[in-house]
């Protein structure tokens, strides 16, 4: 019987329990990042909310730059989320170079709305991919963008990821 662990907004969870399924529900502009090490058969899932802690770098041109006023949850920003998720697995012997990586979400579900901050979903996807590259991960499999919400599941025992959306149902990526 699978044991479902919900990865909430700005959270990162990891597991070596083969029955565990890590789930990020209803990703809109948020991005889910799943890492899985085939030797350890261990996985981590991050629920990224924003591309960066500094100002609003997804905007074009120069903007204000400031640090967060207090320590944040590690999954809130792309770079810290990827770094923290990677560390969870490398601490137990994982190797980023051999890991499988998946990215899902980053949609623009607020259809028809142009916001001053621009398309945060697309900015999240870009920031996550840059962070993955910096940390030495292979290119991710992905299901990103468009304008619909997604639920992402990482099956720890099988090393597979599924994405569910209302219009497309559930499928493995």
């Amino acid at each position: 019987m699978p044991n479902q662990l919900v990865v909430g907004l700005a959270e990162v969870k990891w597991s070596v329990v083969q029955e565990d399924v890590l789930v990020a529900f209803s990703l809109g502009s948020c991005v889910g990042v799943a890492l899985w090490d085939p030797v350890l058969r261990a996985g981590a899932l991050a629920h990224v909310v924003l591309p960066s802690a500094k100002g609003r770098p997804w905007q074009d041109g120069p903007g204000p730059s400031r640090e967060p006023p207090r320590p944040e949850k590690p999954g809130k920003y792309a770079a810290t989320a990827v770094s923290y998720a990677a560390r969870c697995l490398t601490l137990i012997g994982g190797d980023p170079a051999r890991m499988r990586v998946w990215v899902a979400g980053g949609a623009h579900v607020l259809r028809g709305v142009t916001l001053p901050g621009g398309d945060i979903g697309a900015a999240n996807v870009r920031a996550v991919k840059e962070a993955l590259k910096r940390e030495g991960f292979p290119p991710p499999r992905e299901d990103v963008g468009e304008d619909y919400g997604r639920t992402m599941k990482l099956y720890v025992g099988e090393g597979k990821v599924t994405v569910y959306s209302v219009s497309r149902g559930e499928r493995e990526i």
Partner: protein, 200 residues
């Protein structure tokens, strides 16, 4: 970091006044007795925002409004499908019966959009009055999507430095039937010129 108690109490009062005002307008609009059954305001962690309207994967019909002025932010009104159907049925029973099935979703979006306009403008007006500030909303859009995806996306736009936000819930009864919707008020924390919504 926390929000001043005084701000919260003022928001609570403004939300209740706004929701009562919305109820009165809706009652007049529908010509049917409409009672406010429950009003609740809360201050919640941003991480809990996607769960505010129940199961995050459940599809809801949402009205989404951004506003500027003395404070920036967003107002979302989320209707569960059964509540949307009841409200639409009350608003335009004969029209809904006469249109082809494939046109019903668009018609329902339009009808619920009207309800959302009434509720949203009532709440925003009372909040603006209560705090003596200017709030300038842009026309709303209707979105049919997973509740968690809509709320999570809106939360992202609420600002990178906020960690909590205000919400108000409203439940109404239409004759013997219940219809409920959730109102989520997401100010961009610290966006006010005079310190309103600022945290300490």
């Amino acid at each position: 970091m926390g929000v001043r108690v005084l701000d919260y109490l003022r928001f609570q009062e403004a939300a209740i006044l706004g929701l009562e005002s919305a109820r009165a307008v809706l009652s007049a609009f529908t010509g049917r007795p409409l009672r406010l059954q429950a009003v609740q305001t809360d201050y919640v962690e941003l991480t809990a925002v996607p769960l505010l309207s129940g199961p995050p994967e459940e599809v809801v019909l949402s009205s989404y409004v951004t506003f500027a002025g003395d404070v920036e932010g967003q107002l979302l009104i989320l209707f569960r499908p059964d509540s949307a159907e009841k409200l639409a049925g009350v608003l335009a029973p004969h029209i809904l019966e006469s249109v082809p099935d494939h046109e019903i979703p668009a018609l329902m979006d339009s009808l619920i959009g009207e309800v959302a306009n009434i509720v949203g403008s009532s709440v925003l007006n009372k909040v603006a009055d209560g705090f003596d500030i200017k709030i300038l909303p842009i026309p709303p859009v209707m979105i049919r999507e997973m509740a968690g995806a809509v709320l999570g996306s809106a939360m992202s736009y609420a600002g990178s430095d906020g960690d909590a936000t205000y919400v108000a819930y409203m439940k109404v009864t239409l004759d013997e039937e219940q219809a409920s919707f959730d109102i989520v008020f997401l100010p961009r924390l610290g966006s006010s010129k005079d310190g309103f919504w600022n945290t300490e």
